[in-house]
Amino acid sequence: MAECVNDSDAESPINYGDYVVLKRGDVFKSVQVENKKKVIFEKQWFFLDNAVGQLYGTMFEIEAGGSLKPKAVKRAGDSLDSKEAGQDNRHIVDDGRSQKLTRDDIETLKEQGLKGQEIVQQLIDNSTTFKDKTEFAQAKYIKKKKKKYESDITVLKPSTRLLAMMYHGREPGKICHLRYDTLAQILTLGNIHAGSKIIVFETCAGLVLGSVMERMGGFGSVIQMYPGGGPTRAGMESFGFPSHFHETLHEFPLCKVNALLAGTLDLSEKDTDSQANGSRIAESDSSQETSGVSEEKNSEPQSMEVSVDPQEEMKRAEREKLREQRAQEKKLKMEEKRKKLASAAALLEGRNADGLVIASRFHPCPVLMGLLKFVAPSRPFVVYCQYREPLIECYTKLREQGGAISLRLTDSWLRHYQVLPNRTHPVLLMSGGGGYLLSGTTVATDAAKARNQHKSEEPAAKRLKLDEISSSCDSSAKAISVV
């Protein structure tokens, strides 16, 4: 087990089938490395085949024909800097003619296969105003041009950080606008760590699920509650977890929660496929039987109708066999599904989960009230919602119902800074909102409490006198002095 976890320590090269994250500047894209697959990223297309065998973290440049070439050493330079620089812009006039290269010229340079850096140098050399610009303006100009013409791509190992930033940048709608700093809060406030049993309900493309699994490192179990026909896991798949991680992942349909809570959950799966169900017990023998039957069927018509084209007959038999096989596969799949359901139900039934994470587009209130019942006392839970009002409702409901303490409704602000000599300031654009969180800790409910000899729920102040009488023997003097 330990080796599995530390395998990231080894200098593992990029392989076919790996899920990787491509990076250009601060834009990311997650892809699976496949043989001769065309990848389109940032208006460029290329093949990842040449990346196979290279180490993670390698930077590539795109060559003609879309092949990647590992970039030699560090960019040799800020040789782009010119020594000359102006003091201010009082003499710089925007006449639209400062760049001597035309659009076509630049296109030609590109077609000649000039490197990005060389194009940028050409642009600088042909800019009449460049040397009059201030040092800072020159740096800004170079940075802007570099971003446009230097198109190096780095291939990285996926991580929560990269994928959360990627989703937030590319497809925030798919993850309910969950910003990465909010996801960070979820994982920490939820005390997600190896060895625990965590319930996750999310409609964030599997990103939250994946991040929880990363933090658990393949130790413990994750039960994904899913709405509709099946769980969404694209985001989780992008993490490229080793196979033993998947053994810790369980799934349970939300529509069966009530049945599970009521103890009426039918694990025999009648509603979906009664036939598969009926023959389930005798599965192992029946599989032999059916194959026997099919053989019989094959031989029977052969002996009776000799006139039939033997080839036709063969085909039919084959078809029959295939159908038989498919039915068998389906049956196996059903059986597999039933087993999975049973194992997830068994994990939930103990009602001793170590944590609950909710991040979905559904109204969080019923989800939280339903799923909190599966969590052990003294465990954290975290509910994410893009909007604040539903969480206010959750808060109020939990307060009424009890069973949870330390309730906190929060959101966070994230501010990035540009840090450069004499040019340090907050980045101009910041994210308007990363969603809201309701977090808290479960405690034993009073029903469970009853066996602990304790009675009605009364505020401490009211009960003070009563209890004082009963326990006056101990520390009564102190107690009275406090009162």
Partner: protein
């Protein structure tokens, strides 16, 4: 109990968090025969704590009750004895995510301080990772070692009592991540680089002042670090409550629209039928004051050697 593993029942030697009420908690080390005084009266460890389930309600001698909670790094952070200024959960959460920490990670930290971040790191990297933490203050280092032992995480951590700016972290080429919370982080960048793995790793530096950030970024750039990024995260805690908004009186009016009716059209909240002069609505208000600044977090990637 351990800070890296949940357990169901309270045992002797455990650290438990006594929850007294809103924002009022205290850590207690459970010892048979011991007593703890709270404002609700005395808690007797042998009868009230040992053998009880974490999360249960305990009635104190004066009739008031408290909850006993399983310790977590987050609860510890708000309950630990301060020996220094500490990092709080909001920053810790972002540090953990942005440093790519997970089970198996090898992490360097300096200084150890009061161990607020250390506990959180240990929770995340257990059971296969390791934390190398450096604290130049001998007494603080000693105290941290003792705490890690009490919290049953000492197998996951090495505390070194040395000056990180002069002597580094005491390891070379094994770390996945480095965290610096020292007055002059730029002086430790070389050591951080040496501690990180050959294949690269992540670095974070926490500084309250922008001048420190400036020098750190410069040093990072000079040492070939990439993806240098400085950010700040602020947490807003919203206070959920009902507020009452009185309705204005426009005087009697011909026709059917009274001001109360208008209000009830606007919001579905019930208008109390007595008086008809106000509307109650549930809302969340921001606190009057909030932590406006803790520190700037500067992150960077060390590329492959």
């Amino acid at each position: 109990m351990s800070f890296v593993e949940y357990s169901e029942l309270i045992q002797e030697g455990d650290v438990v968090i006594i929850f007294l009420g809103h924002d009022s908690m205290m850590p207690v080390k459970v010892q048979s025969g011991a007593q703890t005084q709270t404002r609700y009266g005395v808690i007797r460890h042998s009868s009230d704590l040992i053998g009880q389930r974490f999360g249960s309600k305990v009635t104190c001698s004066k009739g008031g009750w408290v909850y006993v909670l399983h310790p977590t790094p987050e609860l510890w952070t708000v309950n630990l004895p301060h020996r220094t200024q500490i990092l709080y959960t909001t920053d810790i959460a972002n540090i953990t995510l942005m440093l790519d920490l997970k089970p198996g990670s090898v992490v360097c930290e300096s200084g150890t301080g009061s161990g607020s971040l250390s506990h959180s790191i240990l929770r995340t990297i257990a059971p296969t990772g390791h934390l190398h933490t450096v604290e130049f203050h001998a007494q603080r280092a000693e105290k941290a070692i003792q705490e890690f032992k009490e919290h049953k995480v000492s197998h996951l951590v090495t505390v070194r009592n040395q000056d990180v700016c002069a002597e580094g972290f005491g390891i070379t080429g094994v770390a996945d991540a480095v965290f610096l919370d020292i007055p002059s982080p730029w002086e430790a960048v070389t050591h951080a680089k040496r501690a990180l793995k050959r294949k690269g790793g992540r670095l974070c530096s926490f500084s309250p002042c922008i001048e420190q950030v400036q020098r750190t970024c410069e040093a990072l750039l000079n040492h070939g670090f990439e993806e240098i990024c400085t950010l700040e995260v602020l947490l807003r805690v919203h206070d959920v409550r009902s507020v009452t908004l009185p309705l204005p009186d426009f005087g009697p009016e011909e026709g059917c629209t009274s001001s109360t009716q208008m209000a009830s059209d606007l919001s579905q909240e019930e208008v109390p039928n007595t008086g008809n002069t106000s509307v109650i609505c549930k809302t969340a208000t921001p606190p009057r004051e909030m932590a406006g600044h803790t520190g700037y977090l500067t992150f960077a990637t060390k590329p492959r050697d």
